[in-house]
Symmetry: C2
Subunit: 214 residues, 2 copies
């Protein structure tokens, strides 16, 4: 397996955790999203992923994209340990937590969107930071309420074993911290994050541990 | 089953198609996203979905949210007809097409984001329309290239049977048309959309056919 990744990309971070949890070794192909005006725009990577987005996973002659689709694929071909709960309702719950991050927070705050805000719309750095904070705060407030109220919450989002929900939560927390967002208002999220980061699969997937870390 | 839906919500539209394809009857609970400053913000719906977002599905005492999680749930509890291809790689491909829309296009263009652009950032209506068009164009250009090049493309996104990919594609096309985005540059997307709309499950899920349509 070969993972096209950028150390700071939180979508790449999700897939790195999944690969670690499954105990799968893989080749790390760094695609730098900032250097040289965006190495991901280079023709070579465009032949791998037409949009120039990371991550992409090469496996068995297939080129897969979209982090959640890649993680579901890994979970299907290497079922142990499972990354989703054992019942349809449990899986729907775990997936909904993951999608709250992957659809309702992350797409609004990724690099290409922040660039559009300052570049095309000409908003100030302060307004861009407020935009970032607004979507994290909105999303985390909802997520915190769900996690704090739900009896399924354990050491992690769905019980004590890592699920797709945690694979999205931890990189989003990392990203929010990087942008200096105060996270005191989200004690359940932070408790889950801090516990997850004691596990090797999460800790070794962190941006600072990647070969392309700066 | 009870579906909390808004006729114009493209995420609700996705779930309505899934329910129709599975032949499941359901109660339609309309949640109006615009009237009275957003009926979804009313306390009653907040007890169903804390974020006030649609759709939500009530089934068997469970309250499910996030359209893709709901659709995967429906596919697990009512496997026929399947909404994903039969192989892990095929499923990853269908999910990646769906997520390209659900993560890379739709979240940037939904109501709360457009409101933030004009309300909080004070961008002009024209700049808001350009924003909308930018993300549709970026996403559809990529999707068109994938669908036009992939041998799995049939009458629909993955062969001739409806999959999760089509359940996302058709509502996104509807949404783009509503905003007056020219779609001539996406002949494969439009061919798939037009064929899908000849199928009852899609046609009857369309916004204009819903009880709360205006």
């Amino acid at each position: 397996m070969k993972l096209y990744s950028y150390f700071r990309s939180s979508a790449s971070f999700r897939v790195r955790i999944a690969l670690n949890l499954k105990g799968l070794s893989y080749e790390y192909a760094a695609v730098h999203l900032v250097r040289n005006g965006g190495e991901q725009l280079a023709q070579t990577y465009r032949s791998i992923h037409a949009d120039g987005l990371v991550p992409a996973l090469e496996d068995d002659g297939q080129l897969l994209q979209q982090s959640l689709a890649i993680i579901e694929y890994l979970d299907e071909i290497h079922p142990q340990p499972p990354l989703l709960p054992g019942t349809p309702a449990g899986r729907a719950y775990a997936r909904s937590l993951a999608l709250q991050i992957a659809c309702d927070i992350h797409p609004l705050n990724n690099l290409r969107v922040l660039k559009y805000l300052t570049g095309t719309l000409g908003v100030s750095d302060e307004a861009r930071q407020q935009w970032y904070r607004h979507w994290v705060t909105t999303g985390f407030t909802s997520l915190e309420a769900r996690l704090a109220a739900d009896s399924r919450t354990g050491k992690l989002s769905c019980g004590d074993q890592p699920t797709l929900a945690d694979l999205c939560l931890v990189p989003q927390v990392w990203n929010a911290q990087r942008f200096g967002i105060p996270l005191d208002a989200y004690p359940t999220i932070m408790r889950i994050n801090d516990y997850a980061m004691t596990l090797d699969a999460f800790a070794l997937a962190a941006p600072a541990k990647q070969p392309d870390a700066e």
